[in-house]
Symmetry: C2
Subunit: 204 residues, 2 copies
DNA sequence: AGATATATGTACTTATCGGTAAATAACCCT
DNA sequence: AGGGTTATTTACCGATAAGTACATATATCT
């Protein structure tokens, strides 16, 4: 079953693939940001007309939020899977290397749509900016919780400030999104990842 | 003499302060980004009408570029002054602490306009995006050159990869801009700065 | 004082913005 | 086959985007 479509068995069937269209919308929002994306950009990329877009996804804002959901649930997403690695160091390692690999991948826009989708934006975009901030802060909180567990597990020194460590790691990851936008390649991001890992506290 | 005005002694004198108006424009671009800022936003904040804006600053794009110049030449700017500190460590220290202090300062928008002014943007903003990328990459290059000198001075280990070190530091600084947008306060950014400095290579 | 030169306010232009009304088309069910 | 339901197409809406024409106001220079 599709993640987003919920096709009834009455009426004219939808002529386009909602998931494929959402993927196209994500690509546009990722590249141009919420304010920089027009409905014409979206309908052109998605291959549908505006009424189809509105009927299927609500409006621009709801489409954006659905695209973000898709972004975070994609196979190449690295954040949540990394949390399940057995040690704090491996969590950090997988996040940093995943980011290095993914953010400079030229098969899609550079960076991270959660970082750059609505960073500085118009008042019309205030609510989606808020939604993205919440996602980033929640990610940081999840990482802190994971590091708290690591302390219990004994793979972080007992005096570790897990809040600072999580914030530091997120700062580097978010900075890597900017670096990818600057044109940094995966190898260059990997070097940053490696330098970050060298400073990472090891098992006590 | 003013940085931007160049008043002739003929004709009706300008009724507003160009520098003050440019400061207002910077504030709006900083908070809303290039795409998110309308001319109405600008004229309202600057206290002038559109024809005055166009006569004085050219157009939206040129106004933005002048605002960025102002941003980088302000007294509270920390990047270029930090380059003149006597050792590589002190350069990093001043940049990181300057960023922690400045980016969360609530007397102006959070973060850094060079990072967030046109990160993901429309095609209309492509040239200003390019200009900002150039500024960021040039800053990184300047930092690398400074670290090369530090190696000669002997306050960085001789095997230091200065390019990676500069990129790592810029990654953290740019990440701190996102953190500030997330709502992080100066103290939280300072903790990130401190953690970054702990990993910084010390003299030989 | 008058000519010249620049700035200002009002009102306007064209294009595009996000969003929708209404008619038509394509399907399922009875 | 025909009714019910949903999707698609075309054409449109009011609002706002960036940018400007033009008349008027205010200064200096001669």
């Amino acid at each position: 079953m599709s993640a987003v479509s919920c096709t009834p068995n009455v009426g004219r069937p939808r002529a386009f693939d909602m998931d494929a269209a959402l993927e196209k919308a994500l690509e546009v929002f990722w590249r141009k940001g919420y304010d920089g994306t027009s409905l014409s950009d979206l309908t052109e990329a998605m291959g549908i007309n505006k009424p189809s877009l509105y009927a299927a996804f609500g409006n621009k804002e709801q489409l954006f939020l659905k695209a973000i959901e898709l972004y975070e649930s994609r196979p190449c997403s690295f954040f949540l899977p990394a949390l399940e690695k057995p040690t704090a160091y491996q969590v950090a390692e997988h996040m940093l290397h995943g980011a290095a690999m993914n953010m400079a991948d030229s098969s899609h826009p550079q960076g991270c749509v959660v970082v750059q989708g609505a960073l500085s934006c118009s008042e019309a975009a205030a609510s989606v900016k808020e939604a993205l901030i919440n996602r980033r802060v929640e990610g940081e909180q999840k990482l802190k919780v994971r590091f708290d567990q690591a302390k219990i597990d004994g793979d972080l020194p007992p005096d570790t400030d897990t809040g600072v460590l999580a914030r530091y790691l997120l700062t580097v990851l978010q900075g890597m999104a900017i670096q990818a936008n600057n044109g940094a390649c995966s190898e260059q991001l990997r070097q940053v990842a490696q330098m970050t890992l060298q400073a990472f506290p090891r098992a006590g």
